[in-house]
């Protein structure tokens, strides 16, 4: 058996009573890889994570995690994976330290690792603070610290930065990239295309329970970069978007020569526009 794959989904589907929430999902995850499921609310991201991590049973198909069929996994699998769900809570009445220490006991993790993780998420100086008194971003960092305390092979994150301010989100991105460097594989879901572009080695675009596109963010953007465009702001404050045609290029050259251009941008395709082209819907549509 191929041991390089930490995770392998083949033909996974999930039906809730009447609704088909996932249709024929296939994917693989390798060590040190960050894989993102990008899709709008209701696309099936949480359902996917729950199935892979054994919290929910698929209707059909096979999921293998760390070489074991997810139908056969028991509680011990959680000694080797870390899970952050979309609503993971903390013990608010306990201190930051206690919150981590309880799980250090569960996983038999030495005290030094707790200190190390506290430093990783930059909460060392708050370790005696009551966890309920932390800011939203600090709480999320604590949740993340707890999930990687036992150095899991795979880290699952369900919308890890949803509802956080941009600064905190950036801090969390940095932490995730650090973990990746240590060889941890990360499976994350998001509805934020910038996050997916920045973090993910590979992205699956999920729409109505189906993977409609798969590839590296760059690959996908280039694939759908059919008509190149330039966005130009002229001296007279007029903003125009021009397509790449010989005629337009001559026009742009002329403006440039006369120094009439304030700003010029190439309209690079983004995952957002890829998503729009593939599904006809925007990512933030409900």
């Amino acid at each position: 058996m191929e041991q390089n794959e930490l995770l392998q989904l083949s033909h996974i589907s999930k039906r809730y009573k009447t609704e088909l929430a996932l249709k024929d999902i296939n994917m693989e995850l390798h060590p040190g890889e960050i894989l993102g499921f990008l899709g709008p609310s209701g696309a099936g991201k949480t359902t996917t994570i729950k199935i892979i991590t054994g919290q929910l049973r698929q209707t059909s198909g096979e999921a293998r995690i760390l070489g074991t069929d997810s139908a056969n996994i028991d509680a011990s699998i959680y000694e080797r994976i870390g899970v952050v769900s979309d609503d993971s809570g903390i013990y608010e009445k306990m201190t930051v330290w206690q919150n981590l220490n309880m799980f250090a006991k569960i996983w038999r993790v030495p005290r030094t690792r707790v200190e190390e993780v506290l430093r990783l998420v930059d909460l060392s100086e708050h370790s005696k603070k009551q966890a309920g008194k932390l800011s939203k971003g600090q709480k999320q960092r604590l949740v993340l610290a707890r999930a990687v305390l036992h150095k899991p092979r795979i880290l699952f994150l369900d919308e890890p930065t949803s509802g956080l301010d941009p600064t905190t989100a950036v801090e969390i991105h940095k932490m995730l990239l650090d973990l990746k460097k240590e060889g941890m594989a990360i499976f994350l879901t998001t509805h934020n295309m910038e996050e997916a572009t920045k973090l993910c080695d590979n992205v699956a675009l999920l729409y109505q329970g189906e993977i409609v596109e798969f590839g590296s963010p760059q690959e996908l953007c280039l694939k759908y970069n059919r008509d190149k465009k330039y966005q130009i702001l002229l001296d007279d404050r007029k903003e125009i978007i021009l397509e790449q045609t010989p005629e337009n290029i001559r026009k742009i050259a002329e403006w440039m020569e006369k120094d009439q251009i304030q700003c010029i941008h190439s309209c690079e395709p983004t995952l957002e526009s890829v998503f729009l082209q593939v599904t006809g819907k925007t990512l933030n549509a409900w």
Binding site: Q55, D74, A75, E79, S85, I90, M102, K105, I106
Partner: protein, 247 residues
């Protein structure tokens, strides 16, 4: 038993959470305080400041059943509901803690506490210890506390919030606590009471208070062990279906 660390961690988490919950901490002290207060208040009726047997019976009955019911039905149930409310239960269940470890870890301290406080009530009540069969009292306390804790776990499975847990727990508590207490007033209730595990407790404390010899009958044993088995089975069926939390 290589996983005692997980059980110990769950028990410690529960302990930390419960000891931070004022209502939960005050509960047992209130029961002991109540028994003590009543004793002082009513001891004037008896000769040389002692409680007359009927008062002693009422006092023990009230204290012991209340203690058993509060700790189990309410303490255990709301502690689980709190974890659901704060979204920490799923965290535990995805951290390699098994359902069994969570079960034992959750009831360990409430169970021990209930038994210990039962003895404290006995002591505070001032009952002549010669009238008490300690082994029997211990055995009945242990089983009754266990049943109450398991029912508390069932309450926890059913409830989604602490409010919810109280809503389910209080009526249960009323039935198991009040039926034996009111059994003195009505023959019908007394009959029903004979089939409740708290009713068995009441019969026992009544005998002790009256200085009579307590003989456990077959029905009492059947009720105690039967209700323990039934509550465990109900718990298992519910746990098998959805775990501690519905998806």
């Amino acid at each position: 038993m290589g996983n005692m660390n997980k059980l110990a961690a769950v028990a410690q988490i529960k302990w930390l959470c419960m000891s931070q919950n004022t209502a939960v901490v005050i509960g047992p002290f209130m029961v002991i305080g109540m028994v003590w207060g009543f004793k002082i208040l009513y001891s004037n009726f008896g000769p040389n400041g002692e409680l007359i047997p009927v008062m002693m019976a009422m006092l023990l009955n009230l204290g012991v059943t209340m203690n058993i019911c509060i700790n189990g039905f309410l303490m255990v149930g709301t502690a689980i509901a709190e974890e659901k409310e704060k979204h920490t239960l799923r965290v535990l269940m995805t951290s390699s803690v098994t359902g069994m470890q969570y079960f034992i870890g959750s009831i360990l301290y409430p169970f021990v506490l209930t038994v210990v406080i039962n003895f404290a009530i006995l002591w505070v009540s001032g009952i002549e210890m010669g009238q008490v069969s300690v082994p029997v009292f211990f055995l009945v306390s242990v089983i009754a506390s266990l049943i109450s804790c398991v029912i508390g776990m069932i309450v926890g499975i059913c409830a989604s919030t602490q409010m919810n847990a109280n809503l389910i727990g209080y009526p249960l508590m009323m039935v198991f606590m009040m039926v034996p207490i009111l059994g003195n007033l009505s023959e019908g209730l007394r009959r029903i009471s004979g089939f409740l595990f708290t009713g068995v407790v009441t019969q026992m404390t009544d005998c002790f208070a009256n200085g009579a010899e307590y003989k456990m009958e077959a029905l009492d044993i059947a009720v105690l062990f039967g209700e323990l088995i039934i509550s465990v089975l109900v718990f298992l069926v519910m746990y098998r279906r959805n775990g501690y939390e519905k998806d």
